[in-house]
């Protein structure tokens, strides 16, 4: 049976992980490769690296980092942040990433989705969508959630699927950082509306939240950052819990 995926997300700035980590046996908590290896050992199913600086000067640092990750990591990983062109994608994929995640650049120029899918395959293209519930409507936000657009989330998800996206990473800004659970309604609506995998993101605070999102929506995967970084929910505990709750997960 196909398993539901658990995906830790690592924020990268200048080649280092940003948030603090309290893993005791990690040599260098700021080294993304060390942290990634730790997650792999714990049973993460995939990893997402998000370059939050993503300035031009940092692209070289990022590609060097991606090469290093690819040498050390034996599970699939996605790289996102500041990817604006097919040339950016090419650098990241050639460095060894399995997928790229695009967000604002896809909103600005939706054809980019098709161009990446045609050149590297749909499975490479993760379209990340930051969405917020405003005045009774789920709306797409860009530039790290700072700028609202007029695009309705439900319209955008269908469009990105048609354009060739392989997966949708859906982050609810209302829930992100709140630790009160995933945005079940919009995650469910989106996962019902498209025929590509949806990764639920934003709001995970407890193991039960993961159970909810897998039972109440068709999400294929759930992503979280801080609860994994700070060791609040160890991945093996989460997987064991989900397995007892009869949710298909990959246990080690």
């Amino acid at each position: 049976m196909l398993k539901k995926r658990i995906i830790p997300c690592l924020d990268i700035r200048d080649g280092r992980t940003v948030k603090g980590i309290n893993f005791i046996d990690i040599r260098d908590a700021g080294d993304p490769v060390e942290l990634a290896k730790r997650y792999v050992q714990e049973g993460a199913d995939e990893l997402v690296f998000l370059d939050i600086t993503a300035t031009h000067e940092n692209r070289k640092t990022l590609s060097v980092l991606v090469e290093k990750i690819s040498r050390e990591i034996n599970i699939p990983f996605t790289v996102g942040g500041g990817i604006n062109s097919l040339a950016d994608v090419s650098v990241i994929i050639k460095a060894g990433a399995d997928k790229v995640s695009i967000n604002s650049s896809a909103v600005k120029r939706p054809e980019l989705i098709t161009e990446i899918a045609e050149q590297f395959g749909s499975q490479c293209v993760v379209v990340a969508i930051d969405t917020k519930f405003v005045n009774g409507e789920w709306i797409v936000y860009v530039h790290g959630g700072r700028i609202p657009t007029e695009i309705k989330t439900m319209d955008w998800v269908k469009q990105v699927e048609e354009l060739g996206a392989g997966e949708i990473l859906l982050t609810s800004m209302n829930n992100d950082g709140m630790k009160t659970g995933f945005a079940l309604e919009i995650t469910n609506s989106v996962s019902q509306a498209v025929n590509i995998p949806v990764i639920a993101s934003g709001g995970a605070g407890t193991k039960e939240h993961f159970k909810e999102v897998f039972l109440q929506t068709k999400a294929s995967a759930a992503l979280a950052a801080s609860i994994f970084h700070f060791g609040e929910i160890p991945i093996p505990d989460l997987k064991n819990y989900l397995q007892t709750e009869k949710i298909p997960v990959r246990c080690l």
């Binding site: 196909l2 398993k3 040498r71 599970i75 994929i93 499975q123």
Partner: protein, 193 residues
Amino acid sequence: MQIAIIKYNAGNIKSVENAIRRLGYECMVTDSPELIRNASKVIFPGVGEASSAMQYLKKHHLDTLIKSLTQPTLGICLGQQLMCKYSEENDTECLGIFDADVKKFPPEELVPHMGWNNLENLKGNLFNGISDEDNVYFVHSYYAELSEETIAACKYILPFSAAMQKDNFYATQFHPEKSAWVGERILKNFLEL
């Protein structure tokens, strides 16, 4: 031991190369017939589309070369599909090493089949140390049907060939290079054949 990874117009070669190096072996990525023929192990990887991959192989005479290999040869993902007879993906005649056709998944669930799934009915040395409950990573929209040559099955929408073998030819639909310790063990088993 000389390990050759066949270089052609399909992606994902870097990951395979890295996985082999992690196991402590050296390898070369090459399209030289001589180097491929003289290697002790050959890996035929691939992420991409069947018809353009076959066209490329034919143009570079790699199609007849691959079929004529006598050393252990491992096809991965598209590699397995190209080793079958025929693929529905753009109506493509393939290498015909395995007596099976490649079909598109009916859209009863999400397609592609993407993520970790467990293997069933394991046969042979490739799976030493691996059990039916172990999960490997898949990404594919087309599948090889079950055949006499199936050495591992997987179920998604329907049962299909997760791995195949005929004589010296081995193939996996999943990505051993992306399947954590299970994949590493399978690659190690192949390299130790």
